[in-house]
Symmetry: D2
Subunit: 505 residues, 4 copies
């Protein structure tokens, strides 16, 4: 049992809280966007949350079938592009109201300098054998996007490659070669049109400080001015793998936040780049698509904490990934398999889905933060009320969190809460208890979806001494969204709720 | 706090339980079926519950625009029929997989002998001025239905008029005149085709015993053999009306069950009619469409009790009504107004909706009843498990019901419960607390629908001494559905649920 | 056979053509908007054409159930409003992207000074017995609309009553009483908020000149400044009625256009009102909902002519009506019954539907008219091409119209035509030939819809001497839409269309 | 201009016509069924035509991810199966009402004896390195299908491998090795359950006679009794390839029909196998997915001829393929690219789509064939009328076909025709003329779909001397469907069609 807490907000209190929850979300390789299940899950996510951008790997990988060579009648090798799948995917993105955050990569086999591949789907992660051909591929693709989608295509953020500081993602993690790639790509794009916004170096943790500093030095020395800096952010320790699954411990979150601050500090140490936006183009707890934590309520609570603070020094942070159609380590064996997705197969929302839905509601409710701490964030809403998110990450103390919130307010209000915790919104448990069927049929899916609906509850709150006070109970690994809306009940003529519900047999 | 109970079922135990929950459901006047909201609600009900038949008033009322007279060129008055709206409504019924239970009535103005009308929508409730013209209307309509829908139209049950034992519904409640109507109608239909099935007298309580006995005597004396007997069943006392709403006390349910038994007994006292099926063509708690009880959890619990017993002596029992598009007393002022519907405006399911959904699931699960009492009904399922419904009608004792159920079974099982009670599935309270807005907008409706979803929970049950035992807690006015499915958990290679969820920060 | 014509457009040619085809469309009484079929038809129309506003009768008629009186506990009569159906209808309008053009009328029975009613659905067409109560009804309704729909509600045009110059629509066609109604209503609305835009007198032809002049004199004398003037426009002579149907001759269209000009001239003769917009709040060929002409190709061709000229002196012109759910003379007996609708039952588009669709495409294509005459209108498009509509109203000459169009243009182009005529897009004929089944089943409806699809054809046009020339053939009662888009064919590597289609067995 | 023909059918005339048009349809590799576009196209095809079965390659290929090996803790290699994608695809098939015709193949890489692959998607076409493991894969998959889909899974026809008589599809086209595969597979399946139905040898033309004879000799000698024989059927000569496309001449169709007869004759020459059903598990004109003929009206007419005769000696014939999602030679560059599909990208039906739709309508209309020749097939319908399909394959004569049909009949009838020819239903031409845009946007797609709708026309036919006679004109490469339905027109009171449409301005 945790120590009960009381928070008293005073008129004029404020806190820093930049809520960029919906700027971008991650996806498995772009080629998977051709699939029916992928699009069903994305549509579901867009209907309930609504992200602005989507970023994933493999735009130029062979399965997208863009880059081709052939012999002409004179026996010369010539290049041609096939945008059939690109158009299909991006048209579908438009239909669900999402725009690409372009990650340039990986290498088409025919353009590659080597044969190194990564993942079940064999992403070629070697430099181009011909940088001019690479740049032509990039600029031809961008030109095509502008032709098809008009001026909005200039707004798509562009990131050069992914995690070049890992040898799997970039042969030998060759920094000098990456800088060559960045410079030639950046220069070619800006020559095409200055309006395009280009950034890098898309590094993951580990060597991030070294790479980001070197990257900026390189840019400064070469006279390049990237439009933003990108990096990734995962928060677990080395996982243990058993069969198809991976188990890992969470790191102390403060470690991660401190690491993110270093990026901000490095950038701001350059006169040329001070204040340059940082996009976290991937983040999650575990970095493996078989990380069982992703399906749990613990994950939802941890991500709630992340979302309260990631906006402090970053322009955006893209959860990796929106759905469970993902193939890096092969095809999953069961609906719940530790995939990155906010939703599981069959559009079953996981607990973390609701963390995002709640932060999105919070963003729509208001931006004026009156309180933020390790358990909650509260904003003032446009109608003079409040909205907030609370979370309770299970630690060694274990149990419920009791949190009394006292907010300035002189009008009777309705308190509405939506609760996600291990007891009331835990599809993983239901699936487990029902036998862990790999692929539930339609009637089981319906049950799982019902078991994945937050509990909605309401209460009338009356002000006392100009304060609206309520004691919330946040269950183990729970996330609670609340709204406190001022306003009296206006009953229709003759309607008496108390009498209606007060009756007994 | 109620006394905890324990039920121990022994191998071989059985109980009478005829679950005809889905045979028929009621509807506001047929003409309302033209409306968009009506059809949306009906489609919702059919997707989640699925009734076979639908019965409502006003098939021949003016708004259906079937019966017309005109002068021909010789100045003679002639009759013509317009089946435009009939086809539209019945086509739509087919599209959602429901068939009509035909109630013949009320009187087209031009065919009426008087001007008496009932309801906001002015149903003419007088006998025909010309019985031949009435019979022609009936047989022409049936002929048209056979032409359009083929042989299935012979299967539509046909009931002659509605509640003739009330003077509002049948001028002067003139029994002799009703018998005339019945005889002429019955005879005309059977002359058209013997396959049609025709019944009556569709009486409501009060004078039901007298009418049913007299009706059967009449039939016997006239040599008519109706295919079934129909009556209604409501279970409240006289309501008090305040403004737009009505408040009433529930009767002792045993009173109602005893009354239903009298119908059975009367029928069986006739040699000619012994065993004739009884269709309860209307039932509900309150008989007024502004009866606030309909929207409550109390109603859900009371109906759960009714559904456990109505099949004892009746072939079917048609809940009055599936949805809240209903105009007898005028147009409702607000989403929750005490309407009869299982769903409210905007397809928000009321607690009673789930009572029906649960009994429908129970029917699909199995028919072999092993236990039935005042709080629950339990059946054995085809896979060797169990399913059941429990309820806890709030009485003066008030609180939760604790019910321990011990069932024969030797295999580890999954217990799945879906709970509806005042805390977890109570859209009325949410609507009230949020301010009783007459017509919630789309975002409020989404919240109300989430607040109207039963809580799904699961647990693993291990057998002890050949018994599977669990203690259920049924909240105040709660209805709980459960399934107990035998079967071990088959985990995929490497998957460890306990480890997955056991982690802490 | 008509005389072939040739039109040569020279660079710099222009013609007056105000294409306001999509500003407003008419509807049967507002209460019908509750129906499923109505909404299906409206959605279909909005998807394929897309109107901005919708105007119909009966906003305050009893079936909308807005105005109510009751006795309070002191025995005083009090008024209350019920916006349940209003909200339902207007919410549904919003869902299909259309906004109301409010027509204030008719009179709630309880507020009426008399019992005169009009139509099958009994519209009360008498003045209010209490003008204050009427004004309160109007302003309460507007206040409610602003609360529900925000500032956009101030933009809904408001018209006071309908056709008061007919005794059926306004008791005794009492002009003085109408002016009283107008003044009190206008004044009350403007007192509520100056932003509302209010007009009248909504007269039909016959006494229109007299009424409009008197109306403006009244406004001038009373110091009222209406925001616009409204009138109606039908173009047939007195019909002959046989059974359920009406047959009529078309008037010379010039007569109608001249009549419309008189309204413009009268308004402009007032210094105070010069240039005041005119909204034709109803127009069609026949003014009866059993006017068989509405279902024909002749109607499509006549309306094509109307749409080319109605914008000359009028701000808008609202086709009466979008769909065939309409009950003024009772419920139609068959899918094709001469209803006003652009679409028939089951969303079968009539030929006139395409006239509107074509003018809407024309509006999207461009607004720079280069030619307009009695058979066609041609605009220059944004991509340097052309688009146009042609029509061929069958007259005594009968046959096809051959029309050669020569347009300035130096690039090879694609000519695309969509043709509607008696041979290729005539669902009425198909329905007739198949036996005139009153209500086709789903498979017949599918056939009718296919039979109601314009014929699409294309051709490559090469410029000669800087001109693009093509000879069109417009069939009897045909309407043809064309686009002439400049641009070469870019074939994929190896693709040869001529070879592809040139092959034989 | 072709010679006009006249066909007179006499009472009692009959012809052989087995219409198995809807038994089966082909598909690109099963893994493509995961895609959104594939499922949209399949749903469209099922809604408009409705096939019973679907057959395609690659069930066991790597992209379906079924077969896996891993090391257990003892270091032993073990096998596991992943049915995630199989379940997803087959669930989706069920949702659109289609069942698999299982083709067993190709080889999972890990189970393969060699590295030979075929196609862009690298189908491994070598024998298993371990026949026991192969049989276990097959029987485990079938067991899984029975568990998931119940007894209906026993009904799925099963074919062993594809075109083993081509070295690309089966290493070295090694006949002996194929027989080994067949025997072991057949035996393993029958050992699992006798109810499964298994056939082969799935050969294509060329060496078909030799293979089929040898196959049956092998079966006879080994005591195997296959449930059916399978083969393929294509009807073009060797194509010429230019860029991405292939052009070919059609063979004389009689050559193909004669070849099919050889299979029948060979089978029937074996006492053991006489009458064994033949399934043509693939047929089309061209056998290449870049065969431009597939998109043409010529193809539609040729297939119309095929469908009239393929049932003569074959149980079924599966058009290769239902849609254009197909990747054997890589990803197509444009919507029209000579793909096999009945529909093109974006659900644009090609002319051949309608050939199938018409034969399906014919099948629903009746099975009693009264006439069949080289240009048409006519059946008597249940309502005493007729239905038929006509075609006109463009040959050196070129032009229209004029065909007079005289049928016995004494009642006035409605003749309804649906016409597909180069002028009225030719989306390829529209696409070409509009510029051959690789991937049309939504508005162009809508136009293409309208341009791909058959022309519907009707006419009243009156009998003369007991005959109903009509002269049809079938355009170049046209296919015409007709129905002749007896029945008088029953007009509603007052409706006069001739007067309605006879009017002029």
């Amino acid at each position: 049992m945790k120590e009960p807490r009381k928070i008293t907000v005073t008129e004029g209190d404020s806190a820093i809280f930049n809520n960029n929850v919906d700027y971008c979300v991650g996806t498995g390789r772009i080629g998977l966007a051709l699939s029916r299940e992928y699009m069903d899950e994305l549509r579901f996510v867009q209907e309930h949350i609504g992200f602005s951008h989507i970023r994933g790997h493999g735009l130029f990988s062979d399965d997208m079938s863009i880059y081709h060579e052939y012999r002409d009648s004179d026996g010369n090798t010539r290049v041609e592009y096939n945008f059939t799948y690109l158009d299909r995917v991006f048209d579908d993105y438009h239909k669900v109201g999402i725009r690409p955050f372009l990650e340039l990569g990986f290498m088409p086999s025919r353009l590659a300098s080597g044969t190194q591949t990564l993942f079940y789907w064999r992403a070629n992660t070697t430099p181009p054998h011909d940088y001019n051909a690479w740049c032509a591929l990039v600029t031809s693709t961008l030109t095509h996007l502008v032709e098809r989608y008009g001026n909005e295509a200039y707004e798509y953020p562009i990131e050069v490659w992914n995690e070049p500081n890992l040898p799997g993602f970039w042969e030998h993690a060759d920094m000098k070669e990456y800088f060559r790639l960045f410079k030639s790509t950046f220069t070619a794009i800006k020559a095409l049109d200055e309006r395009f916004r280009v950034g890098g170096p898309a590094v993951c943790g580990g060597t991030d400080e070294k790479w980001i500093r070197a990257f900026l030095e390189f840019c400064r020395d070469e006279g390049l001015h990237p439009d933003f800096v990108t990096r990734h952010h995962y928060t677990i320790e080395q996982p243990e793998e058993i069969g198809h699954y991976a188990y890992a411990k969470l790191m102390d979150p403060e470690y991660g936040f401190a690491n993110l601050q270093t990026t901000r500090d490095i950038i701001d140490s350059f006169d040329e780049f001070r204040g340059l936006p940082i996009h976290i183009t991937e983040f999650n707890s575990s970095y493996t698509p078989k990380g069982v934590i992703h399906d749990t309520n613990l994950n939802a609570a941890c991500i709630a904490q992340q979302l309260s603070r990631l906006g402090d020094v970053n322009e955006s942070y893209s959860y990796w990934t929106f759905g469970d159609v993902f193939e890096e380590l092969g095809v999953p064996y069961a609906i719940f398999h530790g995939g990155f997705g906010l939703v599981a197969e069959g559009c079953v929302p996981k607990p973390t889905f609701w963390t995002f839905a709640f932060y999105k509601k919070l963003k729509c409710a208001g931006s004026d933060c009156v309180h933020k701490d390790d358990s909650c964030v509260v904003v003032r809403t446009d109608d003079g009320g409040y909205a907030g998110v609370m979370w309770n990450i299970a630690d060694s103390d274990g149990g419920e969190l009791t949190l009394t919130l006292a907010l300035p307010g002189g009008r009777e209000s309705c308190l509405m809460t939506q609760t996600v915790d291990e007891d009331v919104c835990n599809p993983l448990r239901v699936w487990h208890d029902m036998g862990e069927h790999p692929h539930p049929d339609e009637s089981e899916l319906r049950l799982l979806r019902d078991a994945a609906t937050p509990l909605v509850q309401t209460e009338r709150i009356k002000p006392e001494d100009g304060m609206l006070t309520h004691t919330f109970t946040v269950g183990r690994n729970g996330v609670v969204y609340f709204e406190l809306r001022p306003g009296e009940i206006k009953s229709d003529r003759g309607y008496d709720y108390e009498r209606t519900v007060g009756q007994t047999m």
